[in-house]
Symmetry: C2
Subunit: 275 residues, 2 copies
């Protein structure tokens, strides 16, 4: 029987007291649910002074931004915690620290990063973090190289490929990145004024062929343990610091996907800057 239950704020506080690795667990007294993402519950656990001391993150058995009509595996919480643990061992400076995780409850406790900001918000505000690009590159280089066949023992890697099999989350990427934008799909959203450009993209056969080639590589190249969703919304920054979070899309895929996601997201921000 599954032990899964959806956490209340009180559950999150109790869990953080037990597993948050703080010196004074009884001083963890309140939880604020701050999940603004698409998939999960996220609680900030605060002390009596209102200072956030730990994060408790729990996966819901469906896509949060859509509802129970779109069920989604809880195994993504295991994948996320294990991906962050592997990446954290390889690049501790730039990976959020996992303090505890429980695959049955689909929950984990993470270090508090309240003194950081989501990079996307900072980019939108035009705030420049001169070290961030280099730090993100360091994160990608350390995690991708050391989980690839260029470094990792080939036979151990084969077991890791199975451990990080992540079909449901990969399917989301397969659809949202490589298929839906090029067809008429209810999940697509764009301003009516852009319709001519949208149709031009959809009718661009060489582009569609190139994207199909990239999709095939996404499906079949098990090169390294990817973060899988490393856009600016999955990166926390602070003065001189950077931490990757949100690795539930982790799987063994083509190295170029993480690099392309990171670069493409920065280019999107650049294109969106006021003229």
């Amino acid at each position: 029987m599954s032990l899964y239950r959806t956490f209340t704020a009180a559950d999150a506080v109790a869990y953080a007291r037990q597993y948050g690795q703080v010196a004074d667990p009884q001083n963890l007294v309140s939880a604020e649910e701050i999940g603004d993402g698409n998939l999960n519950l996220v609680f900030k656990i605060r002390d009596p002074q209102g200072v956030s001391r730990a994060i408790v993150k729990q996966a819901l058995p469906y896509v949060r931004c859509v509802g129970e009509s779109w069920p989604l595996t809880l195994d993504r919480a295991r994948i996320e915690a294990q991906t962050l643990l592997v990446h954290g061992a390889l690049c501790p400076r730039h990976t959020v620290q996992v303090l505890h995780h429980d695959p049955e409850l689909a929950v984990m406790v993470q270090e508090d990063l309240s003194d950081h900001h989501i990079w996307r918000s900072e980019l939108v505000k035009g705030r420049y973090y001169p070290l961030a690009a280099g730090q993100l590159a360091e994160y990608l280089a350390q995690t991708l190289f050391h989980t690839s066949d260029f470094y990792q023992n080939a036979q151990e890697k084969k077991a890791e490929v199975s451990r990080f099999a992540n079909p449901e989350l990969c399917q989301i990427t397969e659809d949202l990145f490589f298929t839906d934008p090029y067809i008429d799909h209810e999940r697509n959203q764009f301003d009516e004024a852009l319709l001519p450009q949208v149709q031009e993209l959809r009718n661009d056969a060489p582009l569609r062929l190139a994207v199909a080639g990239l999709k095939h590589r996404f499906l079949s190249k098990a090169e390294a343990l990817l973060h899988g969703d490393i856009h600016s919304g999955s990166v926390f920054v602070a003065e001189g610091r950077l931490k990757a979070i949100d690795a539930e899309f982790g799987f063994y895929g083509p190295i170029g996907f993480d690099l392309g996601t990171a670069l493409g997201n920065l280019l999107l921000n650049y294109c969106g800057l006021p003229g």
Copy 2:
């Protein structure tokens, strides 16, 4: 506790009576061990007239041609049977039929192919089977296309990639195909007179770089469920007929590997023909 025990001839007969799908099981009376391969026990099960009626094949927990000093996973028997079952469903005409298999005993019963010959022996004797090349191409096309992302559901394929993870057998290929020939290794055997050519190959940096690239693809491209060892010694032929056997190296790898193994092996035979 493992149920594994090494089969005697009597065990093989009893097993074939139970699982050989013959109309008259009590007429299976004797077994001849004919394994001339490198890895396994192979019994021909005969009736009182000496006619072979079924094959019982069992994996040994070590490399047969080397001995117990080189242990090797029994899981390869499961991999072999399951690969042949998948390939047999996709291309029944050209895949040996698996009548029964037991992963604990590492044993399977196969259809008898005594009216066929190993293609390698026939090639060495210069016997020409005009349909064989096309039939082998048909086997490769049907099995590789239908297990690739071009046909198979992408999410089901991810589970199949894990089911067919085959690290120990892949390591043999990685070493024997992509590494050992280019270094001084005790397993290498060649005529002393060929030493200059051998050294030339070993000092050919562009060749070594190209082979390293192929090795990386072998390690990381999970394109389709390969046979994994489809040389002329893994192919039975008869007048107008061809059957692939010996699929213990099956795994999800680059399509080009099976094609290259098949073609390369025919080229080797061509090069070995009397001038």
